[in-house]
Amino acid sequence: MKTHLVALSLLAAGALLAAPEIPAPCCRPAAPAAGPCCAPETKPAPAPCCVELKAERPLTERSLYQHDAVWTSDAGRPVKLASLRGEPVIVAMFFASCEYACPVLVHDLQRARALLAPEVRAKARVVLVTFDTRRDTPEALRAFRTRFELDSMWVLLRGTETAVQDLAMLLGVKYKLDARGQYAHSNLLTVLNAEGEIVHQHAGLMGDVSEVARKVAALVPVE
């Protein structure tokens, strides 16, 4: 039956998504500009190391940082996701008044971080984005930070409903505001590489997060 075939092909497509992608190595040449054919080459010769070129290199085709909404941090500052470019991050969506799942989700993230070597932990941020555009003011997010003792490597963000929906769509997170004012939502941890590309996703609560930690560690070059 048609519907079953569709469901199967969708599942297959989902499996493809889960396949890990190779992280972009440092100093990879910038993607060619989509300029007109035969445009004169005006770019200066690449520097020995591309750190200083990073900012001007266009985002990769699969970079989530193409999502250019402006978020607000719990400190009340405007934040673009692209400002996280350069180091791996773990992204999760939550809401601060969540009674059950989100505290567990945060605990899972803390467990994953605890598995990281200190030098990796000092680079890999955790980004928590709230579904709750109404109640999760910067103050509410600050209270959440205090309650769970989240250090400066944790970035807490709120945004517009459109921005939240777009991000959820990009991550494959489902969510719905229920009659009690609680959000039913997927519990999904997403590892992004330095370019903002999805490298790994971990679904569910209280599971084995060691793979999340391994994926993050693999993204931080050994010095």
């Binding site: 039956m1 469901a7 998504l17 085709e61 719905k176 229920d178 519990n187 569910g204």
Partner: protein
Amino acid sequence: MKPFHLLSFLPGPLAVALVAALLPAGAVRGEEAAGLVLIPAGVHEPVLRGQDEPRQVAVAPFLLEARPVTNAEFLAFVRDQPKWRRSRVAPLFADAGYLAHWAGDLELGPKAPAEAPVVRVSWFAARAYAAAKGRRLPTTAEWERAAAAGFRGERGADEPEYRRVALGWLAQPSPDVLPAVGSRRASVHGVHDLLDLVWEWVDDFNTTMTTGESRGDTGLERTLFCGAGAAGAQDLTNYPAFMRAGMRSALRARYVVPNLGFRCALSP
């Protein structure tokens, strides 16, 4: 929007004319010419819902395109917005099969007749098309409310012909080359092709789930893909709605599917 509650008693076309006359907003005028039909206030009865969710959800009046978006219309859009052309679209926003049945970036070809519904478009692309037109995608509740209407009255489930059409489509494979939009019998509101042409994107497809922590691996969601899961539903004539819910729960926003298209909506 008080006037609309009064209008909900009127037949669709008459109400549209009245709305056009009453409302000052230019965007709503002449919606019949713009392919829009007024769907009066109504209710949506979700086939799947959480423990504390109400059985019925009120749906405010809205305007819905009478036909799905065609290949020709989508071609005009990608001419205008090159970043949505097949060769340019970012893989973040559409999977590899995006518009794969078109002959080229700006060429439809034999597999994509101009008047057939556009398919193999992602949610991101559908939404960008709607936004470019000053419209939006309908919500799940809106789409289902419109599709629940029959050919003669508001409750399609009470009409044998409606049930036959809705179930019949599910039982047939989609043809490789889709027929023209508008070729299917219109609902009582004047909306064509809701039951028996293609699946359609809705704005909030990612709200379709059944438990607080659902994601693929929960039993409830898994049963959606299985016909036997419908045995637990209260009303078996809702089987097509059940299948649509299963379809939505399986989608991700960048997926493209050979028989998944869309149409736009507009708030009055």
